[in-house]
Amino acid sequence: MANPDAVGTRGAPFRMDVERGKIREFARATRSTNPAYLDAEQPVVPPTFLTTTFFWQSGEADPWPAVELDQRRGLHAEQEYTFFGPPPRAGTRLTCQSHISEIYTKQGRRGGELTFAVMVTEFRDETGRLVAQGRLTGVETARPPADQSRADEAMA
């Protein structure tokens, strides 16, 4: 069961360098052949690239463990990225910070309570300007995910 007291928990700021080679690797893994990613000297990042915070955010920078969702019943329900202008380009040094913004429950379609938790991550450039925001919604289902379809249970 999630810990409702986790709302407001803030991770330490962390750095993420946007790199051309990393953009190329990510674009190829998602089957892009777009020259805007593969040929540009300073390509912008693909729409879901900021998920690569996996390589930069750990320990004190990551407030997600405070939510205490049961891993065996946990699913990634939604993920959103918002860009306040063109997406950041290779060469940008981002300063990022995450916090737990919401925890709430809903009744599932087949009965059983679902617990949702939301983590917001802000991405700022070298001047401190907010360039992007990530919003991760995780759900803890009533039963282990192998026993059910995501569509039926998690998205009720």
Binding site: R31, N34, T53, F54, R72, H76, A146
Partner: protein, 144 residues
């Protein structure tokens, strides 16, 4: 300039474990449930299954080919069905609405990644700026 018509649906697959692993390496999400057969079975799944964010990334590829890499402003992903090795995926998009915001033309689109069963794996609601036509006009304004 109006919003370009959505490109023809894009078919990817049959998808393989190699696709999943390659994406995992690129994204940094090394959850073993997406590549380790024994781990996936112990968790109650018949085989490893794809990372939801990979399918979402394919929709990102489709959408940025359509509307431009620099123009994306919003990308909201909802994960629905899991994707399994051997699945064939079809990415498709449609325009929901066109409007003005903060002096820019914008378009909201809905993007869908379906499995060969017809089931929807991932839906994305995305917003793009529509680069226009207004460019020379703006330049003229600057000159004036």
């Amino acid at each position: 300039m109006s919003v370009p018509a959505a490109p023809a649906p894009w078919t990817v697959g049959p998808v393989t474990r190699t696709d999943f692993v390659r994406y995992q390496g690129a994204s940094g999400d090394m959850n073993p449930i997406h590549h380790d057969e024994e781990f996936a079975r112990a968790a109650g799944f018949p085989t490893p299954f794809s990372v939801g964010m990979w399918q979402a990334g394919l929709l990102g590829t489709y959408a940025t080919d359509w509307l431009g890499a620099e123009n994306v402003r919003g990308f909201r992903i909802r994960f629905l069905e899991q994707v399994w090795p051997g699945d064939t995926l079809t990415c498709h998009g449609e325009v929901l609405r066109e409007y003005e915001q903060d002096g820019e033309r914008r378009v909201d689109v809905e993007l869908t990644c379906r499995r060969q069963t017809g089931g929807t794996a991932v839906t994305v609601w995305s917003t793009f700026v529509v680069p226009d036509a207004a460019q020379p006009e703006q330049e003229a304004t600057h000159v004036a």
